[in-house]
């Protein structure tokens, strides 16, 4: 394929995506003339530096993301960590129990309680957290002065970079039993309160912490989408007599739709993972009744109670359901005509 061909083949495709591009992109000088016919040996010699460059990352990913998948065999065993400090030896010598661990997990009320907490938290965050960045983005976008805008953005982004330890400690200082609000109330003769250890409001507290930490950060994506809206559309709409609100409804929101769909897909695919670190840090204060989610359940049963096989089985159930969720969420997005996380 000649250089000219590639030019006409992809008009103005910015930073092409690779998978769909015909082989002979002109980025690679020597390939363009003989695309598809280069013998393996020559390609290997040509690209060996590139391949070598990916090796360190590839090794790390294979070792820490793929190899542990094999470790899930302990879910089908009665793993005994005291056989040997070497996990492989211990795995080889532990007895096989088939699906017994899964039966235990699925008939454990504690597990189902964790599932319930996970789903309630997910829904709560979907309803109370998800719309906040969109609204904030519309607000920030309407600020015209660049400096004011930059300052507002800097302030709103900041909490995203704080660790969960910090965020929760800050909340404790404000809303906790010794926090500033309870303390002020007590000084004025009212009764104090401790929101941090109250199971009744705990799920709202978790959502509020999430909003405080990440709602500002979520604005970026929407701001970028807003900046990409063709301004002529607004002008044309205004010429046709559309007021501010109608312009927002008919121009701005349709422009945001793909981004919103993508983020929803990501969120739904991640439904079973709701703030592991965040909840683990507060589990002791509020008790497992309100704070136990699937991830903390695995942590507690596995690493605390040393029941590795049982925890691995619970983790595997979560992982498989999670994978199905991501894939079906993507499928839904594609069916809706939106771009998912990956392309088909």
């Amino acid at each position: 394929m000649s250089t000219l061909d590639t030019k006409t083949a992809e008009p103005a495709a910015p930073a092409a995506t690779g998978r769909r591009t015909p082989r002979g992109r002109r980025r690679h000088p020597r390939r363009s003339r003989t695309a598809g016919h280069v013998p393996f040996g020559r390609r290997l010699r040509r690209d060996r530096t590139l391949i070598l460059m990916t090796v360190p990352a590839l090794v790390l990913v294979v070792v820490f993301n793929y190899v542990p998948i094999l470790g899930n065999v302990v879910a089908f065993q009665d793993y005994d960590p005291y056989i040997s400090t070497n996990g492989v030896t211990a795995m080889l010598q532990s007895p096989w129990v088939g699906l017994a661990q899964f039966e235990r997990v699925l008939s454990d009320p504690g597990f189902w309680h964790a599932v319930e907490n996970t789903l309630v938290l997910f829904l709560l965050q979907l309803v109370l957290f998800f719309p906040v960045p969109v609204a904030l983005a519309l607000l920030v976008n309407s600020v015209l002065r660049p400096r004011v805008r930059a300052v507002v953005q800097a302030i709103l982004y900041l909490p995203h970079f704080f660790s969960w330890v910090l965020v929760i400690t800050v909340f404790q200082q404000i809303l906790g039993g010794a926090g500033i609000i309870a303390q002020t109330l007590r000084q004025h003769g009212h009764e104090g309160f401790d929101l941090m250890t109250d199971p009744a409001v705990f799920k709202f507290l978790v959502t509020a912490e999430g909003v405080w930490k990440d709602a500002g950060w979520g604005v970026i994506v929407f701001l970028a989408a807003l900046a990409a809206v063709n301004q002529d559309l607004y002008e044309a709409a205004a010429m046709d007599g559309a007021g501010r609100w109608r312009r927002m409804w008919h121009v701005t929101l349709p422009a945001l739709r793909p981004v919103i769909a993508l983020l929803l897909v990501l969120r739904v695919g991640d439904a079973l993972t709701v703030g592991f670190e965040q909840l683990l840090l507060q589990r002791d204060a509020v008790g497992p009744g309100a704070a136990e989610v699937l991830d903390t359940f695995v942590w507690w049963t596995g690493l605390r109670s040393q029941d590795f096989s049982y925890a691995a089985a619970a983790g595997l159930v979560k992982g498989v359901v999670g994978l199905v969720l991501v894939l079906s969420a993507n499928k839904t997005a594609h069916l809706m005509g939106e771009q998912g996380v990956y392309r088909k």
Binding site: A12, A15, T17, G18, R19, R27, F40, L44, D47, T49, L50, I51, L52, M53, T54, P56, A57, L60, V61, F64, Y66, P68, G71, N72, G87, V140, V143, L144, P146, R147, A150, V152, Y157, L158, F161, S163, V165, V170, Q173, A178, G179, I180, W212, G216, I220, V221, A224, Y234, A238, M239, R244, E277, V298, G302, L303, F308, A312, G315, G319, R343
Partner: protein
């Protein structure tokens, strides 16, 4: 075509030619000026949102700088600063548990970030040429990990089997590579003008040299953002330390903060100072928090204007 692309990419620049950076740019003629009520409401919401972030931080900083007397008088946290003192910081940073933890955190963050960046940049460049041998296979191998996790228990057993427990490598290696970050970098590297790369190649430059002298200098902004992402990741991490390290003396700053804040302990070695002197346990706790948030609060605004690049490019593009 190119013109409209340009306009799409930078609508603010074309729509709003800035005179002074504080002055309001001209409003397009078709846009009706906002009413007073609307303007006031918008301003109020934005100010409230900013205060919700700033006020808690203010209280933390002021309390960390307050003397025991002030803290006792106010009954706890201090909002209005009175007789500022740096005694909490002096005590914390003159050796002991917190000093050690801070040094550990700084070293782990620096080493980890440099390592992660080196690995990620090399990999991103290696993948930046679609059609190269193994390109698709490697890319898919990396991207597949974004859809599943191996699980906590198997990962723990692996780290144990590799003998990494109770070493600082356990804080770096398992989380060293973020596929998302690699994809973002790759997206940028692919955007570098091919003519430039080709001309360097014709002049005899190899891939490493092209990466170092052409691609990296042109991608400074995104490299800054990804560096920040990695650094914040290492700085904020506490979970791996809590499961892989057993020696309290090896713990990084976040884990010490958990002990102080959640369990209301006083740092080892400071008990005497707190009991005897005019040092408040609360001020100590707040000072540790300030130490933990300071680097992040200083560094992140510096890279702020490039955040958008780090969030969007590459992540969505396969």
């Amino acid at each position: 075509m190119t013109q409209s692309l340009e306009a799409n990419r930078r609508p603010q620049a074309t729509r709003r030619p800035a005179r002074s950076r504080w002055a309001a740019p001209a409003r397009p003629v078709w846009e009706e000026p906002p009413g007073r009520a609307g303007l006031a409401a918008k301003g109020a919401v934005l100010v409230l949102a900013c205060l919700a972030v700033l006020v808690p931080l203010w209280i933390v900083v002021v309390t960390s700088l307050s003397s025991k007397k002030t803290i006792t008088e106010t009954g706890g946290l201090v909002v209005v600063p009175r007789d500022i003192t740096f005694i909490a910081y002096q005590e914390l940073l003159s050796g002991g548990q917190v000093t050690r933890a801070a040094v550990v955190s700084v070293l782990v963050t620096l080493t980890g970030t440099v390592f992660s960046m080196a690995v990620s940049i090399l990999c991103a460049y290696g993948l930046s040429r679609p059609g190269s041998l193994g390109h698709r296979f490697i890319l898919l191998t990396l991207m597949a990990t974004m859809f599943f996790g191996a699980g906590l228990i198997p990962t723990y057993l692996l780290v144990q089997t590799l003998g990494l427990t109770d070493t600082y490598l356990a804080l770096i290696l398992p989380s060293a590579v973020s596929v998302f970050n690699i994809l973002v970098l790759r997206g940028f590297f692919m955007g570098v003008s091919p003519e430039l790369v080709d001309s360097a190649r014709i002049d005899g430059a190899g891939d490493l040299r092209i990466l170092w002298q052409i691609v990296m200098p042109l991608s400074r902004a995104v490299i800054a953002v990804i560096t920040l992402f990695y650094a914040v990741g290492y700085w904020s991490a506490w979970f791996n330390a809590s499961i892989y390290l057993s020696d309290q003396n090896m713990m990084p700053l976040q884990n010490v903060l958990i002990q102080l804040a959640q369990k209301q302990e006083i740092p080892v070695g400071l008990g005497q100072a707190v009991k005897a002197g005019n040092l408040s346990g609360l001020a100590v706790q707040m000072a540790v928090m300030v130490l933990a948030l300071l680097p992040v609060a200083v560094l992140s605004p510096l890279v702020q204007k490039h955040f958008r690049k780090g969030m969007l490019t590459g992540a969505v593009k396969g």
